[in-house]
């Protein structure tokens, strides 16, 4: 039942969302989403608040009814099944433990509802307490536990009845950073050990990267990017995903034939992109850490390698951020760029210096269609 085993098996679709919609009056909270969730995968819905990710999760849990569309689990429709018959586990943002029950009774609650025998109940609860390492807290009330411990109880309560799917709605959002990272590691190992299908909602992209096998990026009620964290980051499918995930430099260039372009009058090379018209404006995206900033002396020493681009810019600011350093530059045409390098590599520039910014042609993504709001980091919510 380990993830390793799952990787070898052909992926089997467990849940599929078909043209799912949720409207509140004229407002489309979820706008025609179609998605297949594989059996045993860890999938994260990533998006800013109001992007429709939590509403989609609520529809999966059964707390919201879709305006239209289908939710299929193993091919059977779930739309008209009430939450208590869905056999889905859920962990809530504010834990939502039963305040009147002890930790043990909280975890035993789903089993008691299912009328399991006392002996079986005890056995399973004990196993769960061990799994989340709360054996010694079994008789406490939720109010007597820390936030991290409460969340572990919530996870145990959601897992004890062995649901097919575990939904998690920003479960670590209320915890501080250190604890959150510890629990993320625990959660990843738990998933690997149990092989359960997990759908996780978060607005924290680092958390999404750390945990999930696949990420679905939500914006304005739609899924705008779907894939592994690596693919989405290295090859964003559109400008929105590029600006949403991590940091990015956008350059407006004019295409001239295949693989050639000009940026502010200087010639540039770009990836081969089919279907480009002569003189068409396209968008080039370079990650700050893929770009290099070289001082005049460095440029004199190191010739431009084949397959690399180079533009001239003026240094605006150099920032030291601990393990890394960033350097903000502005080109002659007024395009702002950021270059990031590990501190160990050193950045000898001063504000006002003229530098050459270089990047490999293969590392720059090309977009032919984009909206101005896509380039804004804060976009994504309604």
């Amino acid at each position: 039942m380990s993830a390793v085993l799952n990787d070898k098996q052909p992926a089997r679709t467990l849940v599929s969302l078909r043209n799912l919609n949720k409207h509140y009056g004229d407002f489309a909270a979820v706008d025609d989403i179609s998605l297949d969730i594989q059996d045993g995968e860890f999938l994260t819905f990533l998006g800013s608040s109001g992007s429709g990710k939590s509403t989609t999760l609520s529809m999966l849990a059964g707390f919201e009814t879709p305006s239209s569309g289908e939710i299929l689990v193993n091919g059977a429709s779930l739309v008209n099944v009430p939450p208590h018959k869905r056999d889905i586990g859920m962990v809530f943002q504010r834990y939502s433990l039963f305040p009147h029950l002890s930790v043990r009774d909280n975890i035993a609650f789903p089993l008691a509802i299912r009328k399991r025998s006392a002996a079986e109940r005890d056995k399973q609860v004990d196993a769960m307490l061990k799994l989340v390492q709360l054996d010694s807290f079994a008789h406490r009330r939720p109010a007597q536990l820390s936030g991290g411990q409460q969340q572990r109880v919530a996870i145990a309560r959601a897992l004890v009845y062995e649901p097919r799917i575990l939904l998690m709605d920003e479960p670590l959002g209320a915890l501080d950073k250190k604890l959150r990272e510890d629990l993320q590691d625990e959660l990843r190992q738990l998933h690997r050990r149990l092989g359960i299908t997990i759908v996780y909602v978060t607005h924290d992209q680092e958390e999404a990267m750390r945990l999930s096998q696949r990420i679905a990026i939500f914006s304005h009620g739609k899924i705008v990017g779907l894939g592994s964290g690596y693919d989405l980051y290295q090859n964003p499918p559109n400008a929105f995903v590029a600006s949403f995930l991590g940091n990015s430099n956008f350059l407006r260039i004019k295409a001239h034939g295949n693989g050639a372009a000009s940026f502010e009058g200087q010639p540039l090379a770009m990836r081969l992109t089919p279907g480009l018209a002569e003189g068409q404006e396209v968008l080039l995206m370079v990650r700050p850490e893929k770009a290099l900033a070289l001082s005049v002396e460095q440029v004199a020493r190191e010739a431009l390698p084949a397959g690399w681009n180079e533009v001239t810019a003026k240094v605006g600011e150099v920032l030291f951020l601990g393990e890394s350093q960033t350097c903000s530059v502005v080109t002659a045409g007024g395009t702002a760029m950021t270059v990031k390098a590990l501190s160990a590599a050193g950045m000898p520039m001063q504000p006002g210096d003229t530098v050459k910014v270089r990047w490999a042609v293969a590392d720059a993504c090309v977009y032919t269609q984009w909206a101005e709001s896509d380039l804004n980091k804060a976009a994504g919510a309604h």
């Binding site: 208590h84 939502s96 039963f98």
Partner: protein
């Protein structure tokens, strides 16, 4: 009536306060009683205007007409008096049951309806509480009497042939008092329900609880503290209620407060009246003791104190 609510909430507050103090380091007795002289005016006031009349009243129960426990003996031995006690308890119990059964859905509705509407509903409940008690009781008389609106309507509809006797008996008392007591159960209950996190109920249902078992296993236990304090308040108030039983009740089926008034005003039998009053106080104190014992440390309150 507001005072009654405060009085009921205060003991639980005081109890937790005392617990909190006990957990901390307790300073020596002399330290704690330093400045006790400042208490003197308050103690004097309480003693003079509160304890002295109360004690003199209770003393009458054992001193008049002859010293001894004769009054109490009479109270329990005489079947007519025992009947009064039985009436008092059964009416108080029935009123508590009915106001819980009617007040619970009302409190729930106030909690569930959208914000502004809930406030309106609550205001209506409060408004009825602030209207003159006499006016409300007399209006029940108008509604319930033989030639009243309800009887006329039922007869016009052909449901009954002769008017129902709904007033000047215990039926009338129970109806009138239940109506008056409902706000006292709705207020604490609504406050408790308001504090329940609706996500906890969602958690219950995703854990597999049907709406039915979610209600009994999650919602009701979380309402327990409000239900307890509301029901106790209604029961204790009902035991000592005078105006409504006097107006809506009959002469043959008395309740304890009416009995006390009758003994004092008609027979000038202060001894028996004060024995009955002492009994009422004793019952109330015993109930209060059990309330404090049984009252769980409010689970809702705890979960909110994050």
């Amino acid at each position: 009536m507001k005072v009654a609510i405060n009085a009921l909430q205060a003991p639980s507050g005081a109890a937790t306060g005392a617990k909190g103090a006990a957990m901390k380091h307790t300073p020596p007795l002399r330290e704690r009683w330093r400045g006790r002289r400042n208490l003197l005016p308050a103690l004097l006031f309480l003693g003079l205007f509160f304890f002295a009349p109360l004690i003199s009243l209770l003393l009458r129960g054992v001193l008049e007409p002859v010293p001894g426990l004769g009054n109490y003996e009479q109270l329990f031995a005489n079947s007519a008096y025992a009947r009064v006690l039985f009436n008092t308890f059964s009416v108080a119990g029935l009123v508590t049951l009915i106001s819980v059964l009617l007040g619970f859905p009302l409190a729930w509705a106030i909690t569930l309806v959208p914000r502004g509407w809930g406030r309106w509903l609550l205001n209506i409940v409060l408004l009825s509480m602030w209207t003159s008690l006499l006016a409300r009781t007399y209006s029940w008389l108008v509604l319930l009497q033989a030639s009243g609106v309800i009887n006329k309507a039922l007869m016009a509809l052909g449901i009954i042939d002769a008017p129902l006797e709904m007033v000047h008996n215990l039926t009338g008392v129970v109806i009138g008092m239940s109506y008056i007591m409902i706000p006292f159960i709705v207020l604490p209950l609504q406050a408790t329900m308001q504090a329940i996190d609706p996500m906890v109920l969602q958690a219950g249902s995703i854990c597999g609880a049907s709406p039915w078992s979610n209600f009994f296993k999650v919602f009701l236990p979380l309402c327990r503290s409000g239900l307890f304090s509301g029901a106790l308040m209604v029961f204790v108030m009902s035991l000592g209620y005078y105006v409504t039983p006097a107006l809506l009740g009959g002469a043959q089926n008395m309740m304890l407060p009416e009995f006390i008034v009758q003994q004092v005003q008609s027979f000038l039998n202060w001894g028996l009246a004060s024995a009955a009053a002492a009994l009422l106080i004793a019952i109330t104190l015993v109930l209060f003791y059990f309330y404090l014992k049984l009252q769980p440390e409010s689970p809702v309150g705890n979960s909110n104190a994050r």
